[in-house]
Amino acid sequence: MTTVTLKVNGKKHSVDIDPRTLLVQLLRENLRLTGTHVGCDTSQCGACVVHVDGQAVKSCTMFALSAEGADVLTIEGLANGEQLHPMQEAFREHHGLQCGYCTPGMIMSAIDIVKREGHDLDEKTIRRELEGNLCRCTGYHNIVKAIAAGAKVMKGGAKTGKPA
């Protein structure tokens, strides 16, 4: 066992872990933040996307120990109290989810896309940028609409619950 110290959703944690523990396992098993999901074992599906030091990362592909000292933001830390992040609101407004399993990863990736590509996203850009996120329910149609709309609202300045 070894100890990893990191910040998750603004709160500092020191956790004793088996060195082979993945970041997603630390989040789900040790910290019981089960909003981050695991949908595959080959880093293809993106259900596990979280932000590490402000960048989208597939948390199934990173050792928890590699997050030593890092600032991690998960879906649970996205809303500002009761006030949803604009991207969360956009997914609901545009029916960008059905079973909800891929949704946390989709939303975390979407926010990362906006950070990198700006607020005026065309359909082609969104579809290309979603390469790392799989959804089996929606056919992506409404996810694309949700991200375009969420990106525009984020222009007004989105406040996340805790700074990433």
């Binding site: 088996d18 082979r20 789900r28 019981r32 933040l33 089960t34 909003g35 981050t36 999901h37 695991v38 949908g39 595959c40 074992d41 080959t42 293809q44 599906c45 259900a47 998960t74 879906i75 649970e76 996205l78 809303a79 949803l84 969360q88 997914f91 609901r92 407004e93 029916h95 989810l97 059905q98 079973c99 909800g100 399993y101 891929c102 949704t103 946390p104 939303i107 359909e123 082609k124 969104i126 579809r127 290309r128 979603l130 390469e131 996120n133 799989l134 959804c135 089996r136 329910c137 929606t138 056919g139 992506y140 149609h141 409404n142 996810i143 694309v144």
Partner: protein, 789 residues
């Protein structure tokens, strides 16, 4: 229409927990004292188990127990079953081979469960599984359904000679033969309907728990039908009596059919929990899912259609080999028979149809229902035949279809189904307008100028859903009734709980069901809770599949609401000193007809429970009613999908230029949700036609065992969709709903292949039409053109 009533695109109630990471999927649940199960799976497609040596593995850190098939047999745990009996055409019953939850004596597919390790942590269980020494006697394997019945092919089950499960037929063979003799034109096609892996994003999972004090068992499981799980596990596997057994299917991350079935893993978790007196949990890896979730489709078909010289269809003849894999999964036998051949008539008036289906065992993962289940295969057969016949007869594919459309309803097909209503001209016409078919010639010319091939393909589909009238399916071999139940509980404060036997795993029932209740009772949606997925709360239910939750599940709710209204009127009548017959109920208010004397719904609810002044001889206190609704017919959603593609002949890349779907789902409760169902269904259909393929090599090794080599549709593989509707009200249920969950997956593959073959100018392409296959097919196109010049 109110802002939340029937027909309103109400935003979904359930979304709040999903977008904030607060859903409760099975793997999110943790129990005190829990243990972790890990299954050792066969790397061989076919082998005897000569010896399983667990000596070393048992001594490894954290290991609590290792079990094999011998332990299950010693405890007399029953085999997994197939619940739909299909007889061969000679009357003999189907040959069901034994399906133990842990292999006994032999493994029959890659991924078959050899042993289970239960340990304190998952990593410890995995480490110990790697240390189990299995002595396999490797046998020749059989992976090709077309060759399964060859006498030289390896036998999967001793009791199924030539790997034959049944040789089934439907229809009038003599009438079909006679019609073919008189035909002016016959179109013939050989069709492979490719094997698919459902791949719901949430992998399957199960947690078994046993309470020694209460002698009761609980199973949390990724299930589309928790009551069916409980029934089968109690009655056939003998794991716990139904009255001491609770099954909970919490939030479930997609199903598409694959979570209907009763699997080995949940069986072992529940059994082991009782044996070890500790909770036992298991969550599938994605690579395990590829080796153990029931797959879909996998048909090899020869089909022929006979027409007169005007293009009127005279008869249809179909011969299909259906691969059911190594074991018969829960409903596998019904999929290539009564869910397939009964839909071969499509939207057309066809006087005679004959279909033979041989179901075979192979050394592959079991095959069962996957979104559409038999109906996409039927739609593919008839809609390919119609398109190709039109091309061969130099007729427009839409004109040929129109010549044969059914226009008088009800219509009895020669293959059991009695279509009740539809307007196929309306859906086709609307789709052609939305797809701007008039402009297709110009678009094709423009593509041609840029060196591209452009094509358009149609699919005018019909399906049977709202599964299903119990008497009808019972006469066809189903082991269960397919009604649905609902209970409406009105609380003293006027809030309402609706307990439904339907299960939502993405369909949005918590919203649409509440819309119905809100409209009927005139109370806000916030006062209505939809409860599902727990056998301790919901008395009984048959679950969600076959697009049945709207037409069957909601009708059960509607019938329970009728009873609530009737009783509430009695109570209101008593309170208002009027006869119940004189009470009108509208917009949440009970009024004495012709007066201004009225009571709000909440006042009547409260009075129902505060029964001080009740004439209890006439009216019992309380306001709670239930209903079991058994449909009188299947429902028949239908419509037209039009796909337009542009192929780059240099790369073989197919670009979907435009997708139009016009569907007739009857009355629609929530258009936003229905459109979402269409999008998702079409995406899965496009996946089948263009990208997805589950491949076994000739030795039975699974070659597409992960997302690295099984192509799931991604956002940039798909277009945005144009979706429209036509409404003919379903006559067989009071709500007029037909169901919408599977239509896209049924209609889409054939529309896409019809478009690709239109662009190619020949019919020589097999699903999935990958870039490589299309590039090869383009070479044939060039040869044809060269020969013509």
């Amino acid at each position: 229409m109110t802002t939340t009533g029937i027909g309103a695109s109400v935003r979904r109630t359930e979304d709040q927990r999903f977008i904030t990471g607060n859903g409760h999927y099975t793997d999110d649940i943790r129990l005190v004292g829990e243990t972790f199960a890990y299954f050792l799976r066969s790397p061989h497609p076919h082998a005897t188990l000569k010896k399983i040596d667990t000596t070393k593995a048992s001594k490894m850190p954290g290991v609590i127990a290792i079990f094999t098939g011998a332990d299950l047999a010693a405890d007399k745990v029953g085999n997994l079953i197939c619940g739909w009996a299909i007889s061969s055409k000679d009357g003999s019953p189907m040959n069901m081979g034994p399906h133990p939850a842990l292999a006994q004596g032999k493994v029959r597919h890659v991924g078959d469960q050899v042993a289970v390790v239960i340990a304190e942590t998952l990593n410890q269980a995995k480490d110990a599984a790697a240390a189990i020494n299995v002595d396999y006697g490797v046998l020749p394997a059989n992976a090709d359904p077309a060759k399964a019945r060859d006498p030289k092919t390896a036998q999967v089950h001793d009791n199924a000679p030539r790997n034959t499960i049944y040789e089934w037929s439907l229809g009038d063979e003599k009438a079909v033969d006679a019609a073919f003799k008189n035909a002016k034109h016959v179109t013939k096609l050989d069709i492979t309907n490719n094997r698919l892996v459902p791949n719901a994003m949430e992998p399957r999972a199960a947690i078994g728990d046993y309470d020694k004090g209460a002698d009761s068992s609980t199973l949390w499981v990724t299930s589309q039908n928790p009551h069916v799980h409980r029934l089968v596990m109690a009655a056939f596997l003998g794991l716990a009596p139904e009255n001491k057994f609770r099954v909970i299917a919490p939030d479930v991350g997609g199903g598409f059919g694959s979570k209907i079935f009763i699997y080995a893993e949940e069986t072992v978790c529940l059994w082991a929990a009782k044996k070890l007196k500790r909770p036992v949990r298991w969550t599938s890896d994605r690579s395990e899912a590829f080796q153990s979730d029931a797959h879909g489709r996998d048909h090899v078909t020869h089909a022929e259609i006979a027409l007169d010289d005007s293009g009127k269809v005279l008869a249809l003849r179909v011969k299909t080999i259906a691969n059911l894999g190594a074991y018969m999964s829960t409903f596998s036998s019904s999929v290539p028979t009564y869910l397939y051949a009964t839909l071969l008539s499509g939207q057309y008036d066809i006087p005679a149809i004959y279909c033979e289906v041989d179901a075979v065992y192979t050394n592959t993962v079991p095959v069962d229902a996957y979104r559409g289940a038999g109906r996409p295969e039927a739609c593919y057969v008839i809609e390919r035949l119609m398109e190709v016949a039109a091309r061969e007869m130099h007729m427009s594919p839409t004109e040929l279809r129109k010549k044969n459309f059914i226009r008088k309803f009800p219509h009895q097909t020669p293959v059991i189904m009695a279509y009740d209503i539809g307007d196929h001209d309306a859906t086709l016409t609307k789709a052609m307008e939305m797809a701007n078919i008039k402009g297709f010639g110009a678009r094709k010319q423009r593509s041609s100028q840029q060196g591209k091939l452009r094509g358009v393909g149609y699919s005018t589909y019909i399906e049977a859903c709202g599964i299903a009238p119990s008497a009808a399916v019972g006469s066809l071999g189903a082991g269960v009734g397919l009604w649905e139940s609902a209970e409406v509980r009105v609380n003293p404060t006027g809030s309402v709980e609706v307990l439904t036997g339907s299960h939502s795993h993405g369909q949005g029932h918590e919203t649409t069901f509440a819309q119905l209740v809100s409209e009927r009772l005139g109370i806000p949606m916030q006062q209505i809770s939809i409860v599902h997925g727990d056998t301790d709360k919901v008395q009984f239910g048959m679950g969600t599949y076959g697009s049945r939750s709207g037409p069957v599940g909601m009708t059960a709710i509607s019938k329970a609401l009728d009873k609530i209204e009737a009783k509430a009127k009695k109570i209101a009548g008593h309170l208002l000193e009027a006869s119940a017959a004189d009470i009108e109920f509208k917009n949440g208010k009970f009024t004495v007809a012709g007066t201004d004397r009225s009571l709000a719904f909440s006042e009547v609810a409260l009075a129902a429970y505060v029964g001080h002044k009740f004439p209890t001889a006439e009216i019992e206190p309380g306001l709670k009613e239930g209903s079991f609704y058994d449909p009188t017919n299947f429902t028949f959603p239908s419509g037209c999908h039009i796909c337009e593609v542009e192929i780059d002949p240099e790369t073989g890349q197919t670009k979907i230029a435009h997708w139009t779907a016009v569907d007739d789902f009857g009355v629609i409760i929530n258009p936003m949700i229905v459109e979402g169902q269409v999008h998702g269904g079409v995406a899965q259909g496009i996946g089948q036609a263009l990208l997805e393929n589950c491949v076994y090599d000739s030795e039975g090794q699974l070659l597409s065992g992960s997302f690295m080599d099984y192509t799931m549709p991604r956002a940039d593989d798909l277009p945005s969709f144009s979706v429209g509707t036509v409404v003919t009200k379903c006559p067989s249920n009071p709500l007029g709903i037909k169901g919408c969950g599977e239509a896209g997956a049924i209609a889409a593959p054939v529309a896409l292949i019809n478009a690709i073959t239109d662009a190619l100018g020949h019919e020589d392409i097999v699903m999935p039409a990958t870039a490589q296959k299309v590039w090869q097919a383009v070479q044939k196109t060039y040869k044809q053109r060269h020969a013509a010049e």
